[in-house]
């Protein structure tokens, strides 16, 4: 271990022996590295860890016998670890790492002493012959002859070689790490300078391999602070001056200062008066300077330096290659190709991005053609421009290489500039090309950067219909990212686009030849709006510009190519409530439902998606039913291959089923189909299906059906997921199903309660509350409910812990769950022990009626054990409870009354209630109850 020690570590005395490791940051990190290596050794290389050292490593430990735990065998047959205080003898890595683990916070100290007292650990570990064989320079020894050389032909020589390799590898890593650190710190202190100079001096000593002829200080005298510069220069931070003679460039005069390394004007020896001025850039260390200034040979300097400081590092490379072969030959033949395959895979992945620019430089055959045409475009008048553009249209404009070539050769700029001219035909030609190449995202971005949108938006005002349509279509392509959409809005483009929608034809089913162009303009306008509508502010802008009624009019069109963008825009915008209301009041639901019957999948998808979003509103849900859309939605579930469509359709079914009237309308097979979709579907479908089942299960008759269709099992299986929306919906569905006894039996068999319970650990409040709500019916309906709750280790603590949540919905759901749990006396006892009373009491100052209701309920049930009633009184829960009666919610009144009734068994509580005027308040509640129609 720690071969780096000999060279890199900073010892107090240079000679080997019993020196001390200095307390320098570098040694510190060196020790840490070694420690880390030792600690992980036995787990990473179990076989090598068992190898017995030639000689034990021995040092005075700070550990005492009591530190060794009982199971730690101090004296084994062969003494791998011998402990005779204060000395400890260790003979294998496994023992070493165990020992380090034992030493705990003193482990760094242990490693330090160990290294200090075993200055030649490798010799001790591997034996002298091995170590010297490794250390010998210039030998072309390969690993096998290495093994031969080792006189000991023992069976473990193979392990030894591996161990040796591991050590060397570690060594290499530590060294390169330290090297980095040296170069970072070098500019700051004289010691570091000395280190680097010493390292570099070795470069001069080597014969052929030398890279520097000589390297010397200008002064041999060293001040006590480590500086070799005259005193008057030291305030400038200068540490020393060097004269370096490289092999193949002229002599370098170098100043070493705290700020870094730089060339000076030529200080040759001590006591010069001038020449201190800086003549080069400042570098962080000498190596970098040499690299930069004498760049021809230095790139390998680091490597050479490395080799020099490590005589046997040469072997590292050789050994690694050979050991790899060695090990491979030992492994089974099948293993090798697997290894190779996986490595080529990763290479390919890495190369993918690298190959990309190469692909760009692979010129497409059209490249020269494009270059020529762009040249013509630059030089042509209006006639030739049109012809050139006409020629350009013949190119494969949808191919990326062509698109990029047009941009890179300057064609894009000209095309955009043409939009500024008055020549209508040139503009049309230009836009015909732009609308195609703008399908490329990179081109779109460049168009935006070149102010292309400004020109296109201006063109929207043109009286020429072709121009308008083409501009809008191109804008639709370009406005696919946020910045572009914002620009369109800021240019008032939304208003202009909305204006295009008004094609003035009331009946889109019968369009005359003249009107056809207007309709086409409108269609392109919608396309552009569709792209723009992905930004919230644009949705608002479209609404303000009066776009919704116009979209509604276009929705009557019989053509799918018009309907898709229209419905697409509508569904995009339906995320806003204002749109949902308008869509419903403008009577568009009817058309949306009608188009569900279209034979175009994409259109169906957008319609379903729009209904999905709009059905947040109750009126909309009723309208979907009225126009017979529900069954149509179910029939869309048949297209199981189209996942997008499936997601939209299930979403629409989910939202529509929020109205119980709608659920009744669905036929039995709908439920069956939905259950079938609970497996092997993408998450967005699963979320919607689970949501729909949750709503379906609100009708009692559906609960057993879900169970009979086999819906419980897939639902329980989904509980292990991570998607929050999915978990919320699944728990809701399960909770709703759990009120059915048969379903509950299945849930219990599948251990579903435990899974739901464990969801309380999720960070999301939505998931927490949804899970807690689902637990309520589970606890209520489970067989041996009390026993089941107790069997969940840590479950009750988890519940109580959530009473510290800040989310009212979570709190309410947890209170509800506690009310259910507390019905079992034993569990109530556990809850009490865990301090449920102060936790509940703390919540009594809430004003949230929903929470108040469940809180009072929980208090009511928690009263029924031991002297909990008194405890509530002492915790001062009574007074705030009385205040609950002033709430307007009758549910709160009811549960509060129950809680107060329980509490009133204790005289002291009654006194408090009386003081707080409970009689008066109760009377008013009772009166109100009588007066209210219910």
């Amino acid at each position: 271990m720690g071969l780096s020690l000999t060279k890199a570590a900073q010892w107090t005395t240079a000679s080997s022996g019993t020196g001390k490791l200095e307390f320098t940051p570098m040694n510190e990190s060196l020790l840490k590295e070694i420690l880390c290596f030792v600690e992980q050794f036995s787990s990473q290389h179990p076989q090598e860890a068992e190898h017995v050292f030639e000689e034990p490593l021995q040092w005075r430990t700070t550990l005492v016998a009591s530190d060794f735990k009982t199971e730690y065998d101090i004296s084994e047959g062969l003494p791998l670890l011998q402990f005779s205080p204060p000395a400890v003898y260790v003979r294998s890595f496994s023992q070493l790492s165990k020992l380090v683990h034992l030493a705990d916070d003193k482990k760094l100290e242990e490693v330090r002493t160990c290294l200090e007292e075993n200055r030649d650990p490798v010799v001790k570990i591997l034996g002298r012959s091995f170590a010297t064989a490794l250390e010998r320079e210039d030998t072309q020894t390969d690993i096998l002859s290495l093994v031969d050389k080792v006189k000991d032909p023992a069976k473990d020589s193979e392990t030894k070689v591996k161990l040796c390799l591991l050590l060397q590898n570690m060594d290499k890593q530590i060294l390169s790490k330290l090297l980095e650190e040296i170069s970072e710190k070098v500019s700051l202190n004289p010691t570091a300078v000395k280190n680097e100079v010493e390292l570099l001096k070795q470069l001069c000593s080597e014969g052929e391999k030398r890279v520097l002829k000589s390297l010397r200080y200008t002064s041999d005298f060293e001040f006590s602070n480590g500086c070799r510069t005259p005193l008057w220069r030291q305030p400038h931070g200068e540490i020393c001056y060097l004269v370096i003679e490289p092999c193949d460039t002229e002599t370098l005069y170098i100043t070493y200062s705290t700020a870094g390394v730089f060339l000076n004007e030529g200080i040759k020896q001590e006591g010069e008066e001038s020449g201190y001025e800086r003549t080069s850039d400042v570098y962080t260390d000498l190596v970098t300077l040499l690299k930069k200034i004498a760049c021809c040979y230095i790139p390998s300097l680091c490597l050479i330096m490395y080799f020099l400081s490590y005589t046997y590092s040469v072997y590292i490379v050789i050994c690694w290659v050979l050991s790899a072969l060695f090990l491979f030959s030992k492994t089974s033949a099948g293993a090798v190709p697997v290894e190779l395959e996986s490595s080529t895979d990763s290479e390919e992945e890495e190369e993918q991005p690298a190959r990309h620019p190469e692909g760009n430089t692979d010129l497409p055959p059209e490249y020269w053609q494009i270059q020529k045409l762009v040249k013509y475009l630059k030089a042509s008048d209006q006639k030739a421009t049109v012809l050139t553009l006409y020629a350009m249209m013949d190119l494969n404009l949808m191919q990326e290489t062509c698109q990029l070539a047009i941009r890179d050769l300057g064609g894009l700029e000209i095309l955009l500039n043409l939009l500024d001219t008055k020549e209508v035909r040139c503009k049309i030609g230009s836009l015909k090309i732009l609308r195609k190449i703008s399908h490329n995202m990179q081109i779109s971005r460049t168009i935006v950067d070149m102010r292309g949108l400004q020109r296109m938006v201006t063109t929207l005002d043109s009286p020429n219909k072709d121009l308008k349509a083409l501009s809008a279509e191109t804008i639709a392509n370009v406005a696919r990212f946020h910045r572009a959409r914002k620009i369109v809005r800021n240019l008032d483009g939304i208003k202009k686009l909305v204006k295009l929608l008004d094609c003035g034809t009331p009946n889109l089913a019968q369009v005359s030849a003249n009107q056809e162009k207007d309709v086409e303009v409108a269609r392109c306008g919608v396309l552009a709006l569709w792209s723009c509508s992905k930004s919230c502010k644009n949705k608002e802008a479209i609404r303000k510009a009066g776009g919704i009624p116009l979209l509604g009019r276009l929705l009557k069109s019989p053509h799918a190519n018009m309907l898709i963008p229209v419905v697409g825009t509508l569904q995009e915008c339906s995320s806003e409530e204002s749109y949902r209301v308008t869509i419903q009041t403008e009577g568009m639901i009817k058309d949306l439902v009608k188009n569900l019957r279209s034979d175009n999948d994409e259109l169906q998808m957008h319609c379903a998606s729009a209904i999905f979003k709009c059905a947040e509103e109750k009126e909309t849900r009723d309208l979907v039913r009225k126009y017979k859309g529900l069954q149509q939605l179910v029939s869309l579930l048949g297209k199981a291959d189209n996942k997008q469509l499936l997601a939209a359709a299930t979403g629409a079914i989910w939202k529509c089923s929020i109205s119980t009237d709608n659920v009744a309308e669905y036929k039995h097979n709908a439920l069956q189909t939905l259950v079938g979709l609970l497996t092997d579907q993408p998450e967005e479908v699963l979320v919607n299906v689970a949501g729909a089942l949750g709503e379906f299960a609100q009708i009692p008759a559906n609960k057993p059906t879900i169970g009979k269709c086999g819906g419980i099992k897939p639902l329980v299986n989904l509980l292990i997921g991570t998607n929050q929306a999915l978990l919320v919906n699944v728990t809701k569905a399960l909770g709703a199903c759990a009120t059915d006894k048969d379903n509950m039996t299945i849930i219990q068999q599948l251990d579903g309660v435990r899974l739901v319970w464990s969801l309380l650990k999720k960070p999301s409040p939505d998931v927490q509350s949804s899970a807690a709500w689902a637990l309520c019916p589970c606890i209520e309906n489970a067989k041996d409910s009390g026993e089941m709750v107790r069997s969940l280790v840590g479950g009750l603590e988890l519940i109580l812990n959530l009473l510290k949540s800040t989310n009212n919905e979570v709190l309410a759901s947890i209170c509800a769950a506690i009310a259910k749990i507390a019905r079992d006396e034993e569990n109530l006892a556990v809850l009490t022990d865990h301090g449920v009373i102060p936790l509940l009491t703390k919540l009594t100052n809430t004003t949230d009626d929903r929470l108040r209701h469940h809180l009072a309920e929980a208090i009511y049930y928690c009263c029924m054990w031991g002297n909990n009633r008194e405890s509530f009184g002492e915790a001062q829960a009574v007074a705030p409870l009385v205040r609950f009666l002033k709430s307007k919610d009758t549910a709160v009144h009811l549960s509060t009354a129950k809680a107060l009734y329980q509490l009133s068994w204790v005289p002291n509580n009654v006194i408090t209630m009386y003081e707080r005027g409970v009689v008066k308040v109760s009377c008013s509640v009772v009166v109100a109850a009588f007066l209210s129609p219910h």
Binding site: A379, D381, Q382, K383, V386, L387, N464
Partner: protein, 203 residues
């Protein structure tokens, strides 16, 4: 004088009626206006004795120039040829109104016919390479550095011809031209503007 003008008015009215029946796109009142306009353009009849009166080439060109912003010499000559159907060197009243009906109100078909006629410089029923070259001669800025300054135009002609020449006979027949224009409307005035701009028409 009043008698004269009264007679004139009657003549014009009958003329207008017949013309509006023969020529498409114009009703009687419009025809009447156009006749007056024509007479105005004609100015003082130089020799009243002639039965056939009309616009000669020079006058026709100056009208095209001022009214419709057409400037190219070759194109204007072509337009004159297209207007002057009986090839007598004079555009008569009827020819003028017929021509205008195409220019101002013509269907795509009529316009294709007209444009083809304009571009077919020698009237042989084909637009040849040479004719295209003549029409496009000055449309690329010449690069003095290049060996053959016309190379660009020649190349452009080749590209265009290759694309439009559907029957591969090395020249554009009317069918070729018509087909190409129907595919890409921009090609209607491919070799030079010969129709008034739509903005000019509305004026």
């Amino acid at each position: 004088m009043s008698k004269m003008s009264a007679m004139n008015r009657k003549v014009i009215q009958t003329l207008a009626e017949t013309i509006s029946k023969q020529v498409e796109h114009f009703n009687k009142t419009e025809a009447e206006c156009l006749i007056r306009e024509f007479n105005l353009l004609l100015g003082e009849p130089t020799n009243t004795g002639r039965t056939v009166q009309g616009l000669d080439r020079a006058r026709f060109r100056s009208i095209l120039h001022h009214t419709f912003d057409l400037t190219d010499d070759i194109i204007m000559d072509g337009a004159f040829r297209a207007f002057d159907k009986d090839n007598d060197g004079i555009v008569s009243l009827k020819e003028w109104i017929e021509g205008l009906s195409v220019l101002l109100r013509g269907t795509l078909n009529e316009k294709i016919k007209y444009c083809f006629h304009v571009y077919d410089l020698n009237g042989d029923g084909f637009i040849t390479r040479e004719e295209m070259f003549r029409l496009l001669k000055n449309s690329l800025v010449r690069q003095p550095t290049e060996e053959d300054p016309d190379e660009g135009v020649k190349d452009l002609v080749e590209i265009t011809l290759k694309k439009m020449d559907h029957d591969h006979d090395g020249k554009l027949s009317f069918d070729d031209f018509e087909k190409a224009v129907r595919e890409e409307n921009l090609l209607l005035e491919a070799f030079g503007t010969c129709l008034p701009d739509s903005t000019v028409i509305t004026n």
